[in-house]
């Protein structure tokens, strides 16, 4: 007992870090917990273990439709915003542009505007232009929200790598397109993957814009929102939340694994 202080050095910061992690994990961990609880009511004490909520989730066509809508919108938004972000990042980092500062600030505005204001102003414009609400209007609003994120990620990736690498490729005989394809793209690739993942996640989880700008086709957050009002539907929603969590965990782990393998595999002397 006397010796223990030399083994265990109390580190205030480490203790704090553990407490902090507890704070951010604890509430979230109750979601999967109650998804296995054999009761409609989200209260303690816990009842028996059950998988029926997962069964209910699997057999809910409404939920599947919403999920499918969200994936459709998310994929489209992720790809478009990453392409636009890549072009814009290249413009900003590789060319001397007049008014670069104000232009970039303008593109970043969606980051510093409350989402609800973005949502209602788009709603007003769309209704005044008499465009029908649909998943397209939701997707467009998500695109606005995601472009700044894509651009920030890709700008930092582009700035991080040495411009003389591109010059070296030109010097060794490649034209602008092949230089992009053989040098810029592979080096920026981790940034592209990060941008795709982040923007998909943002769109997939976005509620306020979708709430104002969708019509009869719900996205997943809209479906969750409307289900939260019905206590009987909640356990199945928790099961869905837990499933999304597990799937995204595997997706992120897999993409990290691919990225690391990719770095190792690529440097073969393939031409």
């Amino acid at each position: 007992m006397k010796n223990s202080p030399s083994f265990f050095k109390p580190d205030g910061l480490l203790v704090y870090a553990v407490l902090y992690l507890t704070f951010i994990y604890l509430p979230v961990l109750f979601l999967p917990l109650f998804s296995f609880n054999d009761s409609t009511y989200i209260t303690f004490p816990l009842k028996d273990f059950t998988l029926k909520w997962y069964d209910k989730m699997i057999n809910s066509p409404d939920m599947h439709e919403a999920l499918f809508n969200s994936i459709k919108v998310g994929l489209t938004v992720a790809i478009l915003s990453t392409i636009l972000g890549l072009l814009a990042a290249k413009a900003v980092t590789r060319y001397r542009l007049r008014g670069r500062g104000p232009l970039v600030s303008f593109i970043m505005i969606p980051l510093v505007i409350p989402e609800i204001i973005l949502a209602i102003s788009l709603l007003i414009l769309i209704s005044q232009a008499e465009i029908p609400l649909s998943l397209w209007t939701v997707g467009f609003s998500h695109l606005l929200l995601c472009i700044p994120f894509s651009m920030l990620i890709l700008i930092s990736r582009m700035e991080g790598f040495d411009r003389s690498l591109e010059e070296a490729a030109m010097d060794l005989g490649e034209n602008a397109w092949m230089t992009f394809w053989r040098v810029t793209f592979p080096i920026v690739l981790p940034g592209i993957v990060a941008s795709l993942l982040l923007t998909f996640t943002i769109s997939f989880d976005e509620f306020v814009l979708a709430f104002f700008l969708s019509s009869t086709d719900p996205t997943l957050p809209i479906y969750i929102w409307s289900s939260l009002r019905f206590p009987t539907k909640i356990p199945a929603i928790l099961a869905l939340g837990a499933s999304i969590f597990i799937i995204s965990f595997f997706v992120v782990s897999f993409s990290e694994w691919v990225r690391r393998r990719g770095v190792k595999l690529e440097p073969t002397s393939r031409i």
Partner: protein, 284 residues
């Protein structure tokens, strides 16, 4: 040279086009609408200040706007203060596996935002985790009612929901600090605490500012959290705006409230940046 910058602009133009269509034009329309008047299902399209006089004459709007700002301010302070030591820990204490810690922090945010907010309903509700826990331990004989549906529950929930947004920018700014600057400060006679105050803190201030804005601005307009855990006493300006576009059906007034909220938030942000700028000067 000319053709080169032309290529730059043409690369930028699709993004700019999207932003003009989806950002600049809607904001112009929003401002225009705020000067119109609702007439059942249609608008009276003549210039009028009625919505703005309504906004200033009925105290409820200004009261809720300032309440929202106060609550978001509290959320921001709490989130940043809680996040700073954590970011500091990862940046300076964790030697290997920094990425693991960063992932560990973002993992809870991989579930739906709505469900994260809902989780606090489970925590704080009448039959929730805290109440049933305290009851079964015999500390309480009856569940506490004041835990949920008030401004405090909104602040706690938001502080939890936005934690990662505060940690990441602060971590980045701490990580960028050249370690030899800290050694130089020690070498010049400052102790650990004063080194932190005179070197680490001022240099990480950009991260703190970014974190504050990243939390403050979206939470002022948040609609989900007050609706789920706020109850009548916890409503915020976002709920008022939403109701104008929903049940209350008064789009122009909703637009005017939005415009006023935007102006107020912008002023607060400018004030904040000006304040931190002065603070930074004083420390330097």
């Amino acid at each position: 040279m000319k053709s080169e910058s032309l290529r730059g602009y043409s690369l930028l133009s699709p993004t700019l086009l999207a932003m003009v269509l989806g950002l600049a034009m809607p904001l112009v329309v929003l401002i225009t609408l705020s000067f119109w008047i609702q007439d059942y299902l249609d608008f009276i399209r003549t210039f009028s200040l009625k919505n703005y006089t309504d906004f200033f004459q009925k105290p409820i709007y200004i009261k809720i706007l300032f309440k929202s700002i106060r609550m978001s301010g509290l959320v921001t302070i709490a989130t940043v203060l809680l996040a700073y030591p954590m970011a500091y820990f990862i940046a300076f204490r964790v030697k290997h596996n920094k990425l693991v810690w960063l992932i560990l922090i973002t993992v809870p945010f991989w579930t739906s935002y709505l469900l994260r907010v809902f989780a606090w309903k489970i925590m704080l509700g009448y039959n929730g985790v805290i109440n049933s826990g305290l009851l079964s331990l015999g500390i309480l004989s009856e569940p506490l009612e004041f835990l949920l549906y008030n401004p405090t529950s909104v602040v706690i929930t938001l502080a939890h929901a936005w934690a990662a947004f505060a940690i990441l920018p602060i971590y980045v700014s701490l990580e960028k600090i050249d370690r030899s600057l800290l050694e130089a400060s020690r070498d010049l006679g400052e102790n650990v605490f004063m080194t932190f105050m005179r070197v680490t803190l001022p240099l990480s201030l950009p991260g703190v500012i970014a974190a504050s804005l990243l939390v403050f601005i979206p939470t002022v307009g948040d609609y989900v959290t007050p609706a789920l855990v706020g109850g009548p006493r916890g409503i915020m300006i976002g709920n008022i705006i939403q109701s104008m576009f929903g049940k209350a059906l008064n789009w122009p007034l909703g637009a005017a409230i939005s415009v006023m909220s935007m102006i107020t938030v912008t002023l607060m942000v400018c004030l904040f940046i000006w304040g931190t700028h002065n603070f930074r000067k004083r420390v330097a």
